[in-house]
């Protein structure tokens, strides 16, 4: 089989991260760029996210998901970038051999000069939260229910319980109500809402959908179809509280219980993953440990705003194009590498490392996921052995909202002036 070596940059995944990466990879170098997408259209998850709330940062506009994707797709279409739809990457090696399958093109072998991983994420399922009960029909992840309602035009059920108060769960509770279903309640294991407060108002309160905190689903009843569920209260350690069980008659259970970056290919290519983000360890150029492989978007860590996914895609695309042009990894010789570690109240941070002397005028976004709910002014700081190197204030810290800081020139000056090889991010 012939190896196609004509591409400078191949982007795997045509969602928001991949489209932005492809546009910027082309703009950086005017080289040959290919986007490989397994779906029959571009846009990733956005075409089914028909609610508004996208684009506030990148377009200064509150747009529905499909329109946000469409704007980027139009920009991509104006460029001589190749797109292969309905095509699955089945294997990838650390030497950047990419093997694809598609009914139109068959089995193909590519070897580009650089790769951007933009495969996004997938939903946690019932099995991953070990939810007991029968295997009746009527149990869906929120994304599957969303696809059925918004793309295929089917209603998943009539009387619905949602487990998980993340934004997707709340948005689907509203969506199913608008389409005529009865949503009996949203159950949340944690003692606080895990999505945005405004979604609590505009998705639940507006439609009189009750939210039950510190509550989970303990049983599912029904043989062929779900006939009801049992809920139970949980204590501070998230253990079931006996005697608090309640039966709810329903025909559908929608699960909104988290997202996991999709990294099977990354593993095959020898890309090192971070146990906290479940995504590749990346530096400030979105480069992974494998020379020539870059990553961006939900494949690196779960974002809550697509605008920042696009921005990360742009960084990865530019970096991949520069790598392709140089035909080698950028030499970071002489540049100090600073590793970033999560500390107090920080669950994860990307990038995990910065080549501090090679930043030039490149955009660097620090993205931190708080793991505590602090409803007050907080200080976010990077410490070097207990000494503060740089800090900034935020109005609050919430697990539902990533704290994102675009590094300013004076931040970078402060980082350069530090001495340690490792900085710890703390929120206090």
């Amino acid at each position: 089989m012939d190896v196609n070596t004509t591409y400078d940059v191949i982007v795997i995944g045509g969602g928001p991260a991949g489209i932005a990466a492809a546009i910027e990879a082309y703009n950086e170098n005017q080289g040959k760029v290919l986007v490989i997408e397994r779906n029959d259209s571009l846009g990733g998850i956005l075409p089914q996210c028909i609610h508004n709330g996208f684009g506030a940062i990148n377009f200064g506009n509150d747009l529905p998901g499909p329109e946000y994707a469409h704007r980027y797709e139009m920009q991509l279409n104006e460029l001589p970038v190749d797109v292969m739809l309905d095509t699955m990457v089945v294997d990838m090696t650390p030497e950047l051999d990419i093997y694809t399958m598609s009914s139109e093109y068959g089995y193909q072998h590519f070897k580009p000069r650089a790769v951007v991983l933009a495969m996004g994420c997938r939903e946690r399922t019932r099995a991953q939260i070990r939810l007991p009960g029968t295997r009746a029909a009527g149990i869906y992840t929120a994304g599957t229910a969303q696809r059925l309602v918004n793309i295929e035009g089917y209603m998943p059920g009539r009387e619905i319980v949602v487990l998980g108060s993340g934004d997707i769960g709340m948005i689907m509770a509203r969506r199913l109500t608008i389409e005529g279903a009865q949503v009996l309640g949203v159950m949340e294991l944690l003692p606080f809402l895990t999505g945005l407060r405004r979604n609590y108002v505009q998705c639940l309160q507006d439609y009189n959908i009750p939210l039950h905190l510190s509550t989970t689903v303990s049983k599912i009843y029904g043989e062929r179809r779900v006939e009801g569920i049992e809920t139970v209260k949980v204590d501070e350690d998230l253990n079931h509280v006996p005697g608090t069980e309640e039966f709810i008659k329903c025909d559908t259970l929608v699960l909104s219980v988290g997202l996991i970056p999709e990294n099977e290919l990354s593993r095959k290519a020898g890309v090192q993953l971070d146990v906290r983000t479940n995504g590749p360890i990346v530096d400030s150029d979105m480069a992974t440990n494998v020379p020539g492989i870059f990553a961006a978007g939900n494949v690196t860590a779960i974002y809550d705003l697509v605008d920042y996914v696009s921005k990360a895609g742009e960084v990865a695309g530019r970096s991949a194009a520069r790598f392709a042009r140089a035909q080698q990894a950028e030499s970071h010789e002489g540049s100090r590498v600073v590793r970033l570690k999560p500390g107090a109240n920080v669950g994860s941070i990307i990038p995990q490392q910065i080549y501090i002397d090679d930043l030039g005028d490149r955009d660097v976004y620090l993205s931190m996921r708080p793991n505590a709910l602090l409803e007050r002014m907080v200080k976010v700081e990077l410490d070097d052995g207990g000494e503060e190197v740089m800090s900034f204030r935020e109005q609050y810290a919430r697990p539902a909202e990533m704290i994102i800081r675009k590094l300013k020139a004076r931040d970078i000056e402060k980082l350069r002036a530090s001495h340690g090889a490792e900085l710890v991010a703390n929120i206090s």
Partner: protein, 131 residues
């Protein structure tokens, strides 16, 4: 929204929807529902939001309508201008009867000036015509 009464005076608490921050805004209202005091908002959007929310609460409706002869059965639509909150379910029910002919493009007006109220349903996605 939650509300507390003290004689002729009321204090309502709203979570502002204008940005992801979601400020809790307290508004004191007098006997004639006049706004006496607004607090808790961190910017002027919070004041604008509660003033609007008290006078005439509005929301955006995102939904979908059926497509005839399209490559997909549905096209997403929305009300780019926020509409009266109390009418959302009426418009949602009415939108289920709408069917548009493919192709449909982003920005196509699917329903104009609903009930003479200036409310529009506009396509936010693309559906090609099936060959």
């Amino acid at each position: 929204m939650s509300e507390q009464k003290q004689g002729d005076y009321r204090t309502r608490t709203d979570i502002c929807l204008r940005c992801p921050q979601g400020c809790e805004v307290q508004t004191m209202l007098g006997p004639d529902d006049e706004i006496l005091n607004i607090s808790g908002n961190k910017c002027k959007l919070g004041r604008e939001y509660v003033e609007q929310e008290i006078r005439d609460p509005r929301r955006v409706l995102p939904t979908s309508v059926r497509v005839k002869n399209g490559t997909r059965p549905l096209v997403p639509v929305w009300t780019p201008e926020p509409m009266p909150k109390g009418m959302i379910m009426d418009l949602a029910a009415e939108s289920r009867k709408i069917e548009v002919e493919a192709p449909v493009h982003v920005g196509d007006v699917v329903l104009d000036d609903w009930r003479g109220l200036g409310i529009r349903l506009v396509a936010s996605g693309e559906v090609e015509r099936a060959e």
